[in-house]
């Protein structure tokens, strides 16, 4: 499997043939929607809360310059540093420079999609740093040398057996048994604990940034975010410009939706607000605090038809509910952002020309939009991307012309009815005995995997015009 969106269809082919992956994905596809639905049912007033949060997000995005400036001022007042990164390469350079200023050798990371997007770990490793992912899922895919399969649970696509084998292979701990997941968690915990203590630099992401007081919010279930933030001397928050919210209470409203839709629980085990470097009377905390704010084309999305996408809170509900994501798994998308949200974000961030299959990986079934806590009209945005695909002539010419010819014919009802009348008669006579046709003479996606049911004897219009009632 090649981690590139250009290879989506080949990757999907491979993923569909991978029995272990299919078993794991089928379990996820049943379990994750069920726990989400249960949590949302218990919450009640989902639609009201969601439209309230949406109104806050819309307001923030419409005044993003104001809130970003306010956030920056507050971080500086709290004693922190703010860096602006136009793209992934800039973010990686900024972080590396901070590491080098401190002669750092070891970095501990919390889970961050932004650093996945920029490929930060690879960049730091190339410069000779040891980088450890400390979120258990991220740690697993790091030692497996795999890209994430899901934006919330990066290793969810893997089975317990696969992870056990991985631990035996990578942890030099002699003969032992790892009978169950708790034993494996204990082992990872022992290894990671040492990495927390040794780290010179701690890097985390953010679920929200609060303009009013300059704090950043992070939720985790493992507490690794807090260890990464408080033990090393230098803390770096890597995040993007669309995470900012005006007030602390806005982040609480966001959390009520985010956690329930993401993992089906009322709250996460840890909900942490980070406000900057250690103050004189603090018992712990970093000596230096940095925030790196990534743009990477987000300011182009702002004010475009796709602005709603910037309100995405990265909960993963659209992935869990997408029958295509569940069929192929996340890695097939060849992007750190898979599923419906990824099929919109990836072309917007990386360019449609390398990702134009992704907006087509959708049946417009609407399950994603129904559960999206940010009320993003995902199927509509995917369709709008297909319109751009068409404009840029990235789709096959046969499709483009086929639609034009069909449209032209459909506007000439008499000709349309004459031609379809003949075609349907022919198909009826060819397939009436069996009830279906196995081939339509030209190779096509329909008969590649299924038969073509035989039409009835004559179109409705031809029968109706002859007076059948």
């Amino acid at each position: 499997m090649k981690f590139s969106s250009e290879h989506f269809l080949d990757n999907a082919h491979e993923a569909l043939a991978n029995e272990t992956l299919q078993e794991n994905m089928a379990l996820l596809g049943a379990f994750l929607p069920a726990v989400r639905d249960n949590a949302i049912d218990q919450l009640g007033q989902f639609k009201e809360l969601r439209s309230y949060v949406k109104s806050v997000r819309d307001h923030t995005l419409d005044n993003l310059d104001h809130y970003l400036r306010q956030y920056e001022e507050q971080v500086v007042l709290n004693g922190g540093h703010v860096h602006w990164a136009r793209d992934g390469a800039e973010l990686n350079e900024i972080v590396l420079e901070i590491c080098q200023q401190h002669q750092a050798r070891k970095v501990a990371k919390g889970k961050s999609m932004i650093t996945e997007e920029t490929g930060l770990t690879e960049h730091l490793e190339k410069a000779g740093l040891q980088v450890t992912e400390t979120d258990l899922g991220e740690y697993i895919i790091q030692i497996a040398e795999q890209p994430p399969g899901h934006i919330v649970g990066p290793a969810l696509h893997m089975s317990v057996d696969e992870i056990r084998e991985l631990f035996f292979e990578h942890h030099d701990l002699g003969p032992r048994e790892l009978p169950d997941p708790p034993a494996m968690v204990q082992e990872a915990r022992k290894i990671l604990r040492q990495r927390f203590l040794e780290a010179d630099i701690g890097i985390i992401g953010a679920n929200a940034l609060i303009a009013e007081d300059g704090r950043s919010l992070l939720v985790t279930n493992e507490g690794n975010g807090d260890l990464v933030s408080t033990l090393p001397k230098v803390q770096i928050v890597c995040t993007s410009i669309d995470r900012v919210l005006p007030r602390p209470e806005d982040s609480s409203a966001l959390l009520r939706l985010l956690v329930r839709t993401a993992v089906g629980s009322v709250t996460t085990e840890y909900v942490s607000y980070y406000s900057g470097p250690r103050r004189p009377d603090d018992v712990d905390g970093p000596e230096e605090f940095h925030v790196v704010l990534l743009d990477n084309r987000r300011s182009d999305i702002l004010g475009s038809n796709y602005q709603d996408m910037l309100a995405c809170m990265r909960c993963g509900a659209c992935l869990n509910h997408c029958p295509i994501y569940i069929s192929t798994g996340g890695q097939a998308y060849g992007s750190v952002y898979p599923g419906p949200m990824g099929s919109i974000l990836t072309p917007l961030l990386n360019g449609l020309e390398t990702a134009n299959d992704l907006p087509n990986a959708c049946t417009a079934c609407g399950r994603c939009a129904e559960v999206c806590p940010a009320e993003i009209p995902l199927p509509d945005l995917l369709r709008d991307l297909r319109a751009e695909e068409l404009e840029q002539k990235l789709s096959p010419a046969s499709w483009r012309w086929g639609m034009k010819i069909h449209g032209l014919l459909a506007r000439m009802p008499w000709l349309y009815q004459l031609l379809t009348g003949i075609a349907i008669k022919v198909m009826y006579w060819l397939g009436r005995r069996r009830g279906y046709l196995s081939s339509l003479l030209v190779p096509n996606g329909w008969t590649q995997v299924r038969d073509f049911p035989t039409p009835q004897n004559g179109t409705f219009m031809s029968q109706w015009k002859k007076g059948r009632r």
């Binding site: 082919h13 399950r367 449209g407 009815q417 299924r450 039409p455």
Partner: protein, 259 residues
């Protein structure tokens, strides 16, 4: 509910019923007439434009939408035997014309008059026949909730209620009945392998319910499931709900040969 005047209905046949399964259109007319409607079929109708629309070809879709808006301008009610075509008219036509004020208001006017057949019978007419048409209690029926009907039009209990009140049929629910069958218009031809995975899940769930008949409200889904069933060598009778409600079971099920 008895109205002083017969509801005047323009039938939008839909291209799939026109081309693939006229019995669906005839059944729809029969049902509407039984429910006391005066039904007319405008002859100059073809397709609502979904294929082009979902391919992102809005310039090709608009003239098709305008044609349909004009043909159905004079009917107090427009009814179609398909959730996705009605969803197209009700939700996507207004979106298509959002920058053309005159057509936008005409699209909204049509949207307000347009109904999917099971929703029209239940939500508008509150149709409850005095006698059951024919009780088919010997067979086990399951129902596939097509996505557009379910999520764009909130059609869930209407078909089940009608099957019970009109035909005496209790639906045996399958697992994941509200999950997409993998049709998705052009999707099934663009990404056949993923579509195959989805339709095989759907068929497996339908068969696992123990049903011998699978019903649904959208021919696209039903043709997809039927085409896959025959390719996979699995047998289940597949029909559009209107055929059962109208008692029009003379034609073989979808994908079945003439015996």
């Amino acid at each position: 509910m008895s109205e002083p005047i017969q509801p005047f209905v323009g039938l939008f046949v839909t291209c799939l019923a026109d081309l693939m399964r006229p019995s669906v259109a005839f059944s729809t007319i029969k049902l509407l007439e039984q429910a006391g409607c005066d039904v007319e079929v405008p002859l100059q109708q073809t397709c609502c434009g979904q294929p082009a629309y979902n391919t992102g070809d809005f310039d090709t879709t608009r003239p098709m939408a305008k044609q349909l808006i004009e043909r159905f301008a004079d009917y107090p009610y427009v009814v179609a035997p398909s959730g996705s075509c009605v969803g197209m008219i009700k939700h996507h036509y207004p979106r298509l014309f959002k920058e053309m004020p005159e057509w936008h208001s005409r699209a909204i006017d049509l949207a307000e008059r347009t109904w999917e057949i099971t929703s029209f019978l239940v939500d508008v007419l509150d149709y409850r026949p005095e006698q059951l048409a024919q009780a088919s209690t010997a067979r086990t029926f399951t129902y596939h909730d097509s996505c557009a009907g379910l999520r764009e039009l909130n059609i869930k209990q209407q078909p089940r209620q009608l099957l019970q009140q009109v035909s005496g049929i209790e639906i045996t629910e399958m697992q994941a009945t509200d999950v997409c069958c993998g049709f998705g218009g052009t999707f099934c031809a663009k990404m056949p392998e993923i579509s195959e995975k989805m339709v095989s899940n759907k068929l497996d769930n339908a068969l696992a319910s123990g049903a011998d008949v699978l019903l649904g409200g959208d021919l696209g889904c039903l043709l997809n499931i039927s085409g896959y069933a025959s390719r996979a060598g699995k047998t289940i009778e597949i029909r559009h709900i209107t055929e059962v409600l109208a008692g029009e079971l003379g034609e073989p099920g979808i994908g079945e040969g003439q015996s």
